[in-house]
Amino acid sequence: MAVSVEQKTHGSRYGIGQRRSEAIVKAICYFFLILGGITMVVPFIWMIATSFKPASEIYMGNFFPKAASLDNYREVILKTLFPRWYLNSFICATLSTLSVVFFDSLVGYTLAKYDFPGKNVIFVLILGTLMVPTEMLVIPWYIMSVDLHWADTYWGIIFPGVITGGGIFLMRQFMSGVPNDLIDAARIDGVSEFGLYWRVALPLVKPALAALAIFNFLGNWNAYIWPLIVSSAREMLTLPVGLAYFSGEASTDWHLIMTANTLSVVPLLAVFVIFQRQIIEGIALTGLKG
């Protein structure tokens, strides 16, 4: 199922006489790729370097810290509720992702494999929600969460995103690709309708599910406006909202912001590096079907 982005077939693309020019082209490619690659990582290196600098070094113009220390980390971790915010972000992103993976794929499957009156209306309605800027929905959402006592709960933070239009669209595209024969055969074998989705269709779209899960996790991990509005209690903040406490009325604690940034970014990077092949291939798939 996985698309192998690795495999190389250039040998057949060019004749032997073109080898030389091919080598030059390759060299040029490497040059630009390396240049671009540096552009991609330098900001991160700077961010990490700054997180080890004392405040006094911020405006000195040195890229790497002269007197590196862990003081910033100590301050961020011990003097704020950073660990708690971390946990909150993690819980919210995980719960929301689980829900999205289940419901989006179920709805995608239903829209792709069943015929029923109102199907197209529902599909268009769901797609239409993608075009509404969510910044504007914050007020009605907040009114709702207060009325239902969801404010300052994990559910309050995640509820607007437990089912997503984009994910449904994506899953519908992939579910369409599941052969009907396979489903019909299983149906004749007596598999229940839910079982058809759960045991037949779902395993076939695993890579797409993984991509959806990753997108969704990232989106929730980084969400800002809604968590800001809905959480008031300090211990219920998420990471990006907590970061806002480091920038005040007229002063910005760069060294602390960069430390907090590093702390919030590095685990995601670690996960990404470990699973990068699966992640990238899953995401590549979404482009083919989206």
Partner: protein, 467 residues
């Protein structure tokens, strides 16, 4: 792929475990407190049953707040303010065991968003701290209720509080009252004075001296870049107040008409001159720029800026961010008109309509409001936050006036003006844009000022059209 899936599964199991045991517990307790509080007011059969069920686990909590009232207090997040308020609340709760105060704060940039979202949802504070410049908007919408006159008689406010506080008066009533006020003063870096061959104990006292000093203190490196800046205009900081309320007067132009309907910054030559005077630091004298070091305030912390105009609240942040800075504070330099003047402002506390909706809450809120505006509370505030007491008596304390840092701010209180704002942030934005137009696009300062006046006048016209 399988690895990924199994990892996910482990994560699911773990988090659902964590969620199940850890997260909701504090929630439950808090909710119960809220429920308890409602019991004496509305005795409903259903509710009592629920309460009884829940109470089993939290008997102690129940007893403590049996007759109590819980009210909410909101302010923006600033270490010192939060700390000071927590102390005050602690004292207050010790004196009034039946009142419980929930103190909530939010990042400065998002404070108003939070208020905005809380109102239609019917939650939010009983007492809110707001910038005095937001009051027209808040009063207008019916969000604030007037201070009860028997508890806060206008005559008392007018005789005992700094005249600045009268900016909180609308339609003949007071809508808010502060713990502290702040004025602008001149900060100077003594080490840089010495390095430039100036007497570190003699800051400039007039505008002419100020220019002269700023030029002398500016130091360029070999590339022509600023090594030390004399003075840099921080329009997004306090410079717009300096222009609007102080420089205009010093050049002979009252900034706003008596009835607060007309913006007069460009009504006479004086207003223009004041504006040009300020613009010249960057266009002509080249004494510094706000774009370096992430703003003039930061530059001052770093010892890269010699002269700086800022409020008393800056003392606290200097102590935190640049504890070793060798600096002094002096009254604002005097201008051609010779008038003594400075800008005064304050964050003030208002009672919201949520408090007013229930006599018990209102009573508790008023009690708390009185408590945080006593001389003692103000003394604590000035100590912790560095903002001046709003009461004249506390502010004229000889120790305070003699304080090497706070003294300059306190001395200026008798002649501090608080600008009437319709919408403080749009007003400031207009001056920031005018300044940017001059500095970044080379627009004529006078034309830029005219444009700012036009924008702010439009705000005022819109406001007065409905009043």
């Amino acid at each position: 792929m399988r690895k990924l899936v199994s990892l996910l599964l482990v994560v699911i199991a773990l988090t659902s475990f964590v969620v199940a045991c850890a997260a909701p517990t504090p929630e439950v307790i808090e909710k119960e407190v809220v429920v308890e509080k409602e019991v004496p007011v509305t005795v409903e059969v259903d509710k009592e049953v629920i309460v009884e069920k829940e109470v089993v686990r939290t008997v102690i909590v129940e007893k403590e707040v049996e007759k109590g009232v819980t009210i909410e207090y909101w302010q923006y997040f600033f270490d010192a303010r939060v700390d000071a308020m927590n102390r005050l609340i602690q004292q207050f709760e010790a004196e009034n065991p039946d009142i419980h105060i929930i103190h909530t704060n939010f990042p400065y940039a998002d404070y108003r968003d939070k208020i905005a979202a809380s109102v239609p949802a019917g939650v939010g504070p009983d007492i809110a701290t707001l910038y005095y410049g937001w009051m027209p908007l808040w009063v207008d919408s019916g969000y604030l209720v007037p201070l009860p006159e028997d508890e806060f008689p206008p005559s008392m406010i007018e005789s005992e509080f700094s005249p600045l506080v009268q900016a909180g008066k609308f339609d003949g009533k007071y809508w808010a009252i502060p713990t502290a006020v702040r004025t602008l003063a001149l900060f100077w870096n003594k080490d840089l004075f010495e390095a430039a061959g100036l007497d570190p104990e003699k800051p400039p006292t007039t505008l002419d001296e100020f220019v002269e000093y700023a030029k002398k203190l500016t130091k360029l490196d070999a590339n022509g870049d600023y090594e030390v800046m004399g003075y840099a205009v921080e329009m997004n900081g306090q410079a717009h107040h300096w222009y609007r309320e102080i420089l205009t007067r010093q050049f002979g132009q009252v900034p706003q008409s008596e009835d607060q309907r007309k913006i007069q910054w460009n009504a006479s030559e004086g207003g223009y001159e004041a504006w040009e005077w300020l613009c010249k630091f960057e266009t002509e004298y080249k004494t510094g720029t706000n774009d370096l070091f992430d703003g003039a305030t930061q530059a001052f912390y770093q010892g890269k800026l010699a002269l700086h105009i800022d409020g008393s609240f800056r003392l606290g942040s200097i102590a935190k961010n640049a504890p070793d800075l060798n600096f002094g504070v002096a009254p604002m330099p005097i201008g051609p008109s010779g008038e003594l003047t400075t800008f005064g402002s304050f964050w003030t506390h208002g009672l919201t309509n949520k408090a007013a909706s229930d006599p018990k809450r209102l009573e508790a809120a008023v009690k708390f409001l009185k408590f945080i505006t006593t001389d003692e509370a103000m003394a604590l505030w000035v100590d912790k936050v560095g903002e001046l007491p709003a009461r004249l008596e506390a502010a004229s304390d000889p120790d305070l006036l003699a304080d090497p840092k706070l003294g300059a701010f306190a001395q200026q209180l008798p002649y501090a003006y608080a600008t009437f704002f319709v919408n403080e942030s749009d007003d400031r934005q207009a001056l920031m844009d005018a300044y940017d137009a001059v500095q970044l696009t080379g627009e004529n300062p006078r034309a830029a000022l005219d444009e700012a006046v036009e924008k702010v006048q439009a705000l005022f016209d819109e406001f007065w059209a409905t009043h």
